[in-house]
């Protein structure tokens, strides 16, 4: 009997490993494929763009951008030096939060497309919260001990509430969370704009933005170049949150129920899992985590709230999907997108190539990762031709 159990366990072990391995392969293939398509887009754009001195000539046609040079600048702009690494890690840190905000509800079978809105309102809440609280606390270390947690808590509360709402609409009115969270993003941007414009605007400068947060609340750069707005302890904090989410999902009853709802809703409900609870819990947690990300964006990067937030909420979806929605995969995946973001700024600055290109890559990666079947079919075709052997997974 124990022998059988052992054998079964070993079999399960291989199966699980295999599927993880395959998933990593799919993710890698998707990234490579997407970057390949990106290069073609750059080449095409270089053909149509107008410039004084073309850099590339192929078959008599002139191109303004050289894809190889672009990749080099992209890489250099994300890992090429202290400042670049810090900038990459800054984006990675923030992306970890918005990615978790997609990953946790996904495990419960829910699509939270609303991380952007939760992020925006969370960041506004944090900014207003610390500016307001600063009047009551002294500056210096004591102030920091009070203000930073205040900012994070307010961000989490506002984001959490904004995640709770679509969850509530789903359990109470059976409204599809994809639609509600999508719409909530647009509402959040407008509400934040009007709130700041009407009530919290800093009149001393032009533009729609709040006052600067007090110095005691700012998470100043540490261990890295000053101008990169990146603080290493915050990165460690982000890793801690990721680890906590992993623990929550895999080691607790709530996490188990959540995953059961995602994998087999009917069986889970039959087994006594409360659907209302898992929906509300996962959406609220997701919103709170995105809100903390927003708070950190204000405390660490901007130092105030201003309009035109970067689309970190949508990037987070890509990060999570590329990681197979597994918290452990978020770090490499977040690092990749952090690097793309950072390198995107470099190619815009140095080569004049619109950084919107990064947005295209992001979409392509999502599309391809959502399509493992494509790679399986390609693999089968190669298998039939005898190029690779799927059974052993090796290529020779």
């Amino acid at each position: 009997m124990s022998q059988l159990k052992e054998r079964l366990e070993r079999l399960f072990g291989t199966l699980v490993r295999l599927s993880t391995g395959q998933r990593i392969l799919v993710s890698l293939a998707a990234v490579i494929f997407a970057i390949g398509v990106g290069m073609v887009v750059i080449l095409g754009a270089g053909y149509f763009a107008t410039c004084d001195s073309p850099v590339l000539f192929i078959l008599g046609a002139e191109f303004c951008y050289n894809p190889i040079e672009v990749s080099l600048v992209l890489f250099d702009g994300s890992f090429g030096g202290n400042f670049e690494i810090a900038r990459t890690l800054r984006w990675t840190t923030l992306l970890l939060f918005t990615a978790l905000s997609f990953a946790i509800p996904y495990k419960a079978g829910l699509f939270n497309i609303g991380a952007q809105g939760q992020f925006v309102l969370g960041s506004l809440g944090a900014a207003v919260g610390v500016i307001w609280a600063a009047a009551f606390v002294p500056g210096g270390a004591v102030g920091r001990l009070v203000l930073v947690p205040t900012g994070l808590l307010v961000g989490a509360a506002v984001g959490g509430l904004y995640g709770f709402l679509p969850g509530y609409l789903k359990v109470r009115f059976e409204m599809n969370e994809v639609v509600t969270t999508l719409l909530f993003n647009f509402i959040a941007t407008a509400v934040a704009f009007v709130l700041v414009d009407r009530y919290f605007v800093d009149e001393s400068i032009q533009g729609t933005q709040t006052e600067a947060i007090p110095d005691a609340a700012a998470l100043n750069p540490q261990f890295f170049a000053n101008s990169a707005d990146f603080s290493l302890p915050v990165f460690v904090f982000a890793l801690g949150i990721v680890a906590a989410a992993y623990w929550l999902l895999t080691r607790t009853t709530v996490g188990y129920e959540l995953r059961a709802m995602g994998a087999q809703p009917k069986a889970a409900i039959f087994g006594g899992v409360n659907e209302r609870f898992t929906t509300l819990f996962s959406m609220t947690t997701a919103g709170a985590i995105a809100g903390i990300g927003g708070a950190l964006f204000v405390l660490m990067v901007l130092g105030r709230w201003q309009t035109g937030p970067p689309p970190l909420g949508f990037d987070g979806i890509a990060v999570s999907i590329l990681a197979g929605n597994n918290p452990l995969g978020l770090l490499p995946s977040g690092l990749l997108f952090g690097a793309l973001q950072s390198g995107g700024q470099a190619i815009q600055f140095q080569l004049g190539i619109p950084s919107e290109l990064v947005g295209v890559l992001r979409g392509l990666i999502i599309l391809l990762v959502a399509t493992p079947e494509l790679f399986r079919m390609m693999g089968q075709r190669l298998d039939r031709r005898g190029v690779i052997d799927i059974e052993t997974g090796g290529s020779d």
Binding site: A49, V179, D197, L357, L367
Partner: protein, 356 residues
């Protein structure tokens, strides 16, 4: 047919009752008050025309969404199709005008170019979700995100700005004799060709879905693909058709909005489409997958969108513009809360493996 007429009667009756109520309120309202100004703005024929015009992209997005979703494919990518169609129509018009084509001609060719690009994107989407079995929600989302990056990118490369230069619009076509009818004539028969197209498309889509063979196949495909397969009709091919029709309608929506109303492409933020495709999704949920009712939903949302410009002109009201722009989204959520559940195609979102 009887039930259809009864439903239509109810809607028209309700609408007339609403107008009469507003007119009575207008008569009672004290002269010079803010209430009177608001009611004046609402009862103006210019407002009615604006509602029709503003509804165009949402209505076409909704009709496009219905065709995909009735075959069992969730199409979140609608917004992306609208964006791509909007940009490519402008690119074509600018290119053709530079090449010396007459403005009106350029507009119509640009309109077609927008539709062609949207159909192309829909085809790619169809290949991914039908042949390669992508997760439909994620693939649709990806289409939106790709468009959101690609459109401003292309605009920057071609026009050196995320916003395109302005081109003309179709203007309005007055239909002889009919446009002379008081009140109704100026609203319904002196409108943009896109408005006519919308008013014609709604019953046409309804008829195609309800009474043609293709419509029956499409409905069966979403509700019971196995039955359709057993009857010897290809589920994949029906889904391809549904998604491509969706692409055509979204193309009309995007290009029609851009060339019929705005006259340019704005690539900043969420682009000039700004969620109109998503509103379309909500419009067909509101209309319970009935094209005519969904266009009604689009008109309802448009009535809020158009109201914003009117109310801004009333100085006594301090209307926050940004909030008004998302008012339709808020109304939609409230309405869906109370309208209740919609009847969703049974096999929605599921991949179907055809028997060999």
């Amino acid at each position: 047919m009887g039930d259809v007429l009864r439903t239509a009667g109810k809607w028209i009756g309700g609408f007339v009752a609403l107008i009469v109520t507003l007119m009575v309120a207008r008569a009672i309202a004290p002269t010079g008050s803010v209430t009177e100004q608001i009611l004046d703005a609402l009862l103006d024929t210019g407002y009615a025309s604006a509602v029709l015009r503003v509804a165009v992209p949402v209505a076409f997005a909704a009709m496009g969404g219905i065709f995909a979703e009735k075959t069992g494919v969730i199409n979140i990518g609608i917004e992306g199709f609208l964006i791509l169609s909007a940009l490519s129509s402008i690119v074509a018009v600018v290119g053709l005008t530079d090449a010396g084509v007459s403005p009106q001609m350029a507009l119509w060719i640009g309109f077609l170019a927008g539709i062609v690009v949207s159909v192309g994107a829909a085809f790619v989407f169809a290949v991914f979700v039908v042949r390669f079995q992508s997760n439909q929600v994620i693939a649709g989302l990806a289409i939106w995100l790709i468009s959101l990056g690609l459109a401003p990118f292309v605009s920057l490369v071609l026009f050196e700005s995320v916003n395109s230069p302005s081109v003309g619009t179709f203007g309005t076509w007055a239909i002889p004799v009919l446009s002379e009818i008081p009140v109704l004539g100026s609203v319904l028969f002196d409108a943009s060709p896109m408005v006519y197209l919308m008013l014609v498309s709604a019953p046409l889509c309804w008829y195609v879905l309800r009474s043609t063979q293709l419509g029956r196949y499409i409905r069966a495909c979403g509700d019971n693909p196995r039955a359709l397969d057993t009857a010897g009709v290809s589920v994949s091919r029906t889904r391809y058709k549904g998604i491509l029709i969706s692409g055509v309608l979204c193309g009309i929506g995007g290009a029609g909005f851009t060339l019929g109303q705005l006259g340019r492409f704005v690539g900043a933020g969420e682009t000039s489409i700004g969620g109109r495709g998503f509103l379309g999704i909500v419009a067909y949920l509101f209309g319970n997958y009935n094209p005519i009712a969904s266009v009604g939903g689009a008109l309802l949302f448009a009535s809020f969108d158009a109201l914003q410009f009117r109310l801004q002109q009333i100085a006594a009201l301090d209307v926050p513009q940004q909030l008004f722009q998302v008012l339709p989204f808020i109304v939609v959520i409230l309405v869906l809360m109370f309208v209740g559940r919609t009847r969703i195609p049974a096999a929605l979102g599921e991949h179907y493996d055809e028997e060999e």
